[in-house]
């Protein structure tokens, strides 16, 4: 589904990704771990198409297409979803409105009719019930005055509504209490299917207790140093990142 080859990317004059390769198949859950500044978030932003990051070398192919040719909104409509580490507030725009606009943009792109208000509300309430969210959220401004946990739940709600083929969650688990973490995990697990792929960018093993990854990658210095199964995450938790770096340098 997603093929990244020798990807180099920088912001301003600072190179961040230095020849990263990654292959993700439909049905898989990948966890990307690594110390601060290793390039985890940059990878997520580059896949989503953020303009602050320039791709200087390498390729990214998504469903057989050159992803780097597409505008951010086209990538989204083609099924890529990024759960933001810091979801922005959009005062005055209500959550339901944004959700509906997003859903309809995608439906339109795929030649489907717009969802009607009744159907939309029904769907949204269903998904919110699963995530333990109060339906009142729909009428609040997008992330406006939300707590950290509420913002992250809101990201998961958007993901649940949009049913992406490739979901990338950028530290969605950080700063969550245990209930919120469980809700997020539930949202992710509900999305798991043979047609979809999920990339979890995370610092901690914690989330992986609830969402079991197929592959774990360790990122450092803008490259993947090591990949393995879920036991790699446990090993990291125990030994820290230095162990990997030393092993790589040896």
């Amino acid at each position: 589904m997603l093929e990244i080859k020798d990807l180099k990317a920088s912001t301003g004059d600072t190179p961040i990704l230095n020849g990263l390769s990654l292959s993700v198949q439909a049905g898989e859950v990948h966890a990307i771990m690594g110390p601060n500044g290793s390039g985890k978030s940059t990878l997520a932003q580059v896949i989503a198409g953020h303009e602050d990051y320039a791709v200087t070398a390498g390729s990214v192919t998504y469903k057989g297409k050159d992803l780097l040719e597409l505008e951010p909104e086209e990538r989204a409509r083609e099924g890529i979803f990024l759960g933001f580490q810091y979801p922005v507030e959009i005062p005055g725009v209500n959550n339901a409105y944004l959700l509906k606009a997003a859903l309809n943009a995608k439906r339109k792109h795929h030649g489907q009719d717009e969802i009607d208000a009744f159907e939309f509300l029904k769907l949204a309430k269903e998904k919110m019930a699963v995530l333990g969210m109060d339906p009142k959220f729909l009428n609040r401004g997008v992330n406006e005055g939300f707590s950290g946990g509420e913002k992250k739940r809101n990201e998961i709600l958007q993901m649940a509504m949009l049913e992406p083929e490739l979901a990338i969650l950028d530290e969605t688990d950080s700063g969550l209490d245990i209930d919120a973490l469980k809700a997020v995990a539930q949202g992710v697990n509900a999305l798991r299917s043979p047609e979809r792929a999920i990339i979890l960018v995370t610092h901690y093993q914690r989330l992986l207790d609830y969402v079991e990854p197929d592959v774990v990658h360790v990122l450092s210095g803008g490259r993947i140093l090591r990949s393995g199964d879920k036991s790699l995450a446990l090993e990291l938790e125990e030994k820290g990142y230095d162990w990997i770096r030393e092993a790589a340098n040896a």
């Binding site: 989503a48 198409g49 953020h50 303009e51 602050d52 505008e71 951010p72 909104e73 990538r75 989204a76 409509r77 979803f81 990024l82 933001f84 979801p87 922005v88 959009i90 005062p91 005055g92 725009v93 209500n94 409105y97 944004l98 606009a101 997003a102 943009a105 995608k106 792109h109 401004g141 958007q158 949009l162």
Partner: protein
């Protein structure tokens, strides 16, 4: 009362052009202003003696006055002797015969604004017999209004048919000497609208729909007077979302509202005058004096405005809260794009006891535009327990525009409670990226954010107009980002 022929005539006189300005011989007065011009205008309109006297007094006061320079706007000096103060209406043969002859770009704009098909021909200035439908609609409205006893006519008709009302109320809110442009307007105003709602009557319809059909060729110096007698209620809508272009660069209108005891006036404006091109050339100077007088106890005046047009907008719809327990409201969205300049706001003058006022101002700046909010809240010593809440928000799009806030407060009664909140925000690259990552195009994202920002004001507009105003904002800010 107006006959149907008069009605058609006002339709003919309507000036609504965009992109097809042609040289039309005008039989108006030659440019220049002196007492003879004032006399000529009054004579051309067959006005009674008292009107001429009133105009002359205004003219003499105007001569003594200086053009104000305090507003945060810049424009070349206006030569008042280069303006023609009375121009003849256009004739039918100069108009397009059908929509096929209308500039397709204009029709495209109508489409974007969602203006109903049957209104487009009229708006585009198509000759009258082609839009007879609207006239019959207007006639139906007219009948309904006169059944309720509501007087709604052009200012000229009011001077002829209801001189006692005009004499009693004209200038009673905005006196001739009020300010430079109001004095000029008083001397030379061409026409405008007059509304009188009798005691206890609730006007049976929004005067919006009617007005949009009946709008006369009011020219550059428009005069509006609305009187709501005791316990009456009226909602009036001025302007139109369709783009208006005019060969007159200077527009100096005066609007006076009088609310007697227990009366309520809701005045909504959507202003979309030609703002000039992307480089700021051309465009209307819109210098308006709008004021409402809550003359009786328990009266209420509410201003709602959506200002997207004009090269320069300079207006402060105000309320004088004279009656005890009277209420003044001001809800405003002012958009300035490209090189537009807007200096707008309100004045709330609390005189009566327990008077309350609310100000919600939303300024949006894009391109190289400058947008200023200027507001005065004055609480007089006798205005015990007066309350004001002001909320003043600015939204910036891009890095070359500016937002300025000039709040003035003069509180002379210790029991007053006055609150002022102000925010300035930017549409950030992160907000746009967030929306785009959800599949929403950049343009739709801007529209969504802007409309969210303006929501509190839009909800004050009559329903069908709120929808058009929203579309208008989107069109006004087209290409503002990226």
């Amino acid at each position: 009362m107006v006959t149907e022929t008069d009605n058609i005539e006002t339709l003919v006189n309507r000036r609504y052009k965009h992109g097809f300005i042609t040289d039309i011989e005008s039989e108006g007065l030659p440019p220049g202003l002196d007492e003879d011009v004032v006399r000529a205008i009054s004579a051309l309109k067959n006005e009674p003696e008292f009107m001429l006297e009133w105009r002359l007094r205004a003219y003499r006061l105007w001569l003594e006055m200086k053009e104000p320079a305090w507003a945060h706007v810049h424009y070349p000096r206006i030569d008042f002797n280069e303006i023609s103060y009375f121009s003849a209406p256009k004739s039918d043969k100069d108009r397009p015969k059908s929509l096929d002859e209308v500039d397709p770009k204009l029709l495209e704009t109508y489409d974007k604004l969602g203006i109903p098909l049957h209104e487009r021909a009229r708006l585009a200035g198509v000759a009258v017999d082609a839009v007879f439908d609207s006239v019959s609609v207007a006639t139906t409205f007219k009948e309904k209004l006169s059944e309720a006893g509501v007087i709604f006519c052009s200012f000229s008709e009011a001077v002829t048919n209801h001189p006692e009302l005009v004499r009693k109320y004209l200038g009673s809110v905005v006196p001739q000497r009020d300010n430079f442009f109001a004095a000029l307007n008083s001397a030379v105003f061409s026409d405008g609208s007059f509304v009188y709602v009798p005691k206890g009557v609730r006007c049976p319809m929004e005067l919006s729909t009617y007005f949009r059909i009946n709008a006369a060729n009011t020219g550059q110096f428009e005069r509006t007077l609305i009187v709501a007698d005791e316990g009456s209620h009226v909602s009036y809508l001025e302007g139109c979302t369709a783009p208006m272009r005019d060969e007159n660069q200077l527009h100096a209108a005066v609007v006076e509202l009088v609310a007697l005891e227990g009366a309520e006036i809701k005045y909504s404006t959507v202003q979309n005058w030609y703002p000039g091109d992307e480089n700021g050339k051309g465009g209307i100077y819109n210098f308006v004096t709008k004021r409402g007088d809550c003359r009786g106890a328990n009266s209420k005046i509410s201003w709602t405005q959506v200002e997207t047009g004009s090269a320069i907008t300079w207006k402060y719809p105000s309320c004088i809260l004279r009656g005890d327990n009277s209420v003044g409201e001001f809800y405003s969205v002012a958009v300035a794009n490209n090189f537009q300049q807007a200096d707008t706001g309100t004045k709330m003058i609390h005189i009566g006891r327990n008077t309350r006022s609310t100000i919600v101002s939303k300024g949006i700046s894009a391109g190289h535009a400058q947008n200023a909010y200027r507001g005065l809240v004055r609480v007089m010593p006798q205005a015990a327990a007066a309350r004001n809440h002001t909320q003043c928000d600015s939204l910036l799009i891009g890095k070359d525009c500016g937002a300025h806030t000039f709040p003035y407060m003069e509180i002379r009664n210790p029991s007053a409670r006055v609150e002022h909140e102000a925010t300035t925000s930017k549409i950030s690259a992160n907000q746009l990226f967030y929306c785009r990552q959800r599949g929403i195009s950049e343009e739709d994202a801007v529209n969504m954010i802007v409309n969210g920002f303006c929501k509190e004001v839009f909800k004050e507009l009559p329903m069908e107009f709120a929808v058009e105003a929203q579309a208008l904002l989107n069109v006004s800010l087209e290409g503002a980002v990226g």
